[in-house]
């Protein structure tokens, strides 16, 4: 029998025949390492996938926020996915107003013009009226047009007491080289309406204090003179270009470039600056003023790898803009699966930014008033870092529970400003510490 002779010969001559059993055992491993993912996938095509999360964010002696996040995802066939997201958050507490501490007690007028508040000697002035509830909704649709092209569109709206924002985005993705390379082009537009309590302050106008006026009427007239009527708006146009490259079976690399052009009212109506004399004594308080346009560039590169029992990613982001504010962010996440249904994740982030060119911790009385000025620590020089841990459990029935705890510390820095007189006694660049905790449930 030639057939038999052929087979025998093959068995005798081919050494690799011996290794078929072990090669098969090895090849079959791939079938079972993805159990969780496959179950998730099977679920995804059938049902709504719902995530609910509750987050707490608390700064030491400052802002506290509670945020409820609900997301829902549904796939329609293999090619279309609908994502919905609703966020409700509530903020209370106070944030630094931008004014500097003094050796005597200070009096400030509330943003509404109704009433005033006092800040004790040596304390960093905080605006204690900070309280708001925000509702935000997003909807996104993505569609695989054909094996090479994928389209995504989205819209969102958010509303809080003094702010409203609506936006839309569209993106297109193209796969090349058997999908080992993906190019992404996206654009977004948003329109915001700013309508602060008490109206928008006139740029760099001086805060009027009721105590300095004999009658309420005289005070009101003076206060109104520092206000502009009506609301103002802000438009943002974004363009993003991205490439994702599969490097090997386990690693991929992603790089993005983003261009963002913001126009309109960019000033923070609640932030102020102290004008001090050479002894560091405050003479008056001015409302801040920012340019009405900002052009931002961002560069981002991230690599992500699948390890034997985990996932790791490293990323770097560089932002720069025509306010001369540049920042560098280094970030990593490392997830380790203790078992198929339980993982732990470590998150580290380091952030560093330079000050915007018009940032000043205070203004000097003997120098001419600049066109733009802000003492908002958020656009000053600073470094910040985050350390976080997260744990996730897979429960029966495809449910998943996770908890996250993060510590965030922000260290504002003096960018070469000489501190006059008594201001040297105070910490003008106080460290800010915050804790974030989140509990999520997916079903």
């Amino acid at each position: 029998m030639t057939n038999r002779q052929n087979t025998l010969k093959k068995i005798q001559t081919k050494q690799q025949t011996k290794q078929i059993a072990s090669a098969l055992a090895l090849a079959s491993c791939g079938l079972f390492t993805t159990s969780a993912y496959a179950t998730e996938l099977a679920k995804k095509t059938d049902d709504w996938k719902i995530d609910a999360a509750l987050m707490y964010y608390g700064e030491q002696d400052r802002v506290q926020a509670i945020e409820a996040i609900g997301t829902a995802q549904k796939a329609f066939g293999d090619d279309s996915v609908l994502d919905l997201k609703l966020v409700v958050d509530s903020l209370t507490g106070s944030s630094a107003s931008g004014a500097v501490a003094q050796s005597t007690s200070q009096t400030f007028t509330r943003p509404s013009g109704n009433g005033q508040y006092h800040v004790s000697a040596g304390e960093t002035p905080l605006d204690d009226t900070f309280q708001d509830t925000r509702v935000q909704a997003n909807v996104a649709w993505s569609e695989v047009l054909n094996p090479d092209w994928k389209l995504s569109v989205g819209a969102y709206g958010s509303k809080e007491f003094d702010y409203m924002s609506i936006g839309a985005n569209v993106g297109i993705e193209r796969g090349f080289n058997k999908d080992n390379t993906t190019l992404f082009l996206g654009t977004a537009y948003s329109f915001d309406v700013v309508d602060p309590e008490g109206g928008r302050p006139v740029d760099l106008s001086a805060m009027v204090i009721r105590d300095n006026f004999t009658t309420e009427e005289a005070y009101r007239t003076a206060f109104e003179a520092t206000r502009q009527s009506g609301s103002d708006n802000k438009q943002t146009a974004d363009l993003m270009l991205g490439v994702t490259q599969v490097l090997s079976e386990r690693w991929l690399l992603q790089a993005n470039y983003g261009l963002s052009s913001v126009n309109g009212y960019l000033t923070d109506p609640y932030k102020v600056l102290s004008v001090v004399d050479n002894n560091g004594i405050t003479e008056e308080i001015l409302y801040e003023s920012r340019p009405d346009s900002r052009l931002k560039h961002s560069f981002y590169v991230m690599t992500k790898g699948a390890l034997d029992a985990g996932v790791v990613d490293f990323s770097y982001r560089y932002n720069t803009d025509d306010w001369e504010l540049t920042s560098h962010t280094l970030e990593t996440h490392y997830r380790y699966y203790f078992s198929g249904s339980f993982y732990g994740q470590l998150h580290l982030r380091y952030y560093q930014q330079s000050a915007a060119d018009f940032y000043q911790p205070f203004l000097m009385a003997d120098t001419p008033l600049p066109e733009f000025a802000s003492a908002d620590y958020r656009i000053g020089k600073m470094t910040a870092y985050t350390i976080g841990v997260k744990f996730g459990h897979k429960l029966s029935g495809g449910h998943e529970m996770s908890y996250r705890l993060e510590y965030y510390q922000q260290d504002p820095k003096n960018d070469g400003t000489t501190i006059p007189g008594e201001l040297q006694n105070f910490d003008l660049f106080p460290t800010q510490k915050a804790i974030a905790a989140q509990f999520s449930y997916s079903f």
């Binding site: 079972f32 095509t45 029966s396």
Partner: protein, 301 residues
Amino acid sequence: MPTLSLKKTPYTLSRRDWGYIGEFRAMASPCEILIACDELDIADDILDMAVTEVQRIEQKYSRFIAQNTLWHLNHAQGQKQSIDEETWQLMSFSQQCFQLSEGLFDISAGPLMALWRFEPNAPLPAHADILRTKALVGFERIDFNSRYLSMPAGMQLDFGGVAKEYAVDRVAYELAESYPAIAVLVNFGGDIACPIEKSVPWQVGIEDPQRLDHAAKVLSIRQGALATSGDTRRFIEIEGKRYGHIIDPRTGYPVVCAPRSVTVLAPNCVTAGMLATMSMLQGADAEVFLTQQCVKYSIFR
């Protein structure tokens, strides 16, 4: 893809002195799960998980269900189709099997097999039909990656040669993950996996193909898997030679001198099943092949 309504298969759960036995039908086979545990709630949950998972795999990859994942691949008419992670993994495994068997095991060989009817007095397929059909067979002509698959129009995939073993392993792995302390034996129509080591071994009977439903041999397993290839009720004789139902996709003809049945022990069921199938395809050399693989086996001729 429309949502498939999954009506749960009926199953029974019965008490035994060593635990519970759950029984149901799936993938055209009698299925059972032996559970070494005295708690009814847990046994019921284990059985429920097993039924859910095997049904999911059957709904997704059965050749006999219209509009499922496999149906879409087989009706793509040469168009590129998107595939999910699980299908990609099955395709990758099938590709390895195709390469390791040097073309003997081919999930695209279904149309060739369909030409052969293993019934008494069934006509032999015409050689011309075999040649014509062979043009639609060949795993090497399938182009796929982790996201897409495309193959020439007319080609057909059939995971039948691996799906039952895959379902056994998937159920076994899932149960072991959820209940790592409970020994179970998963048996879908003779394809068996025991994922958790059991102190007192399971006793598994192997049928003698000539005396069906009668255990000819008893194997003890503490942990591992076994699978059987061979259907002794189906064969034809051509010019006095007996042909089994195993077709060599490279020739289009049944393998000569294939054993009646091959049972192989391996760490998991897909490996055992594939070794059993490959040894059948070796015909007269089945024993030589398995001996070289250093695995435990049992062959009936």
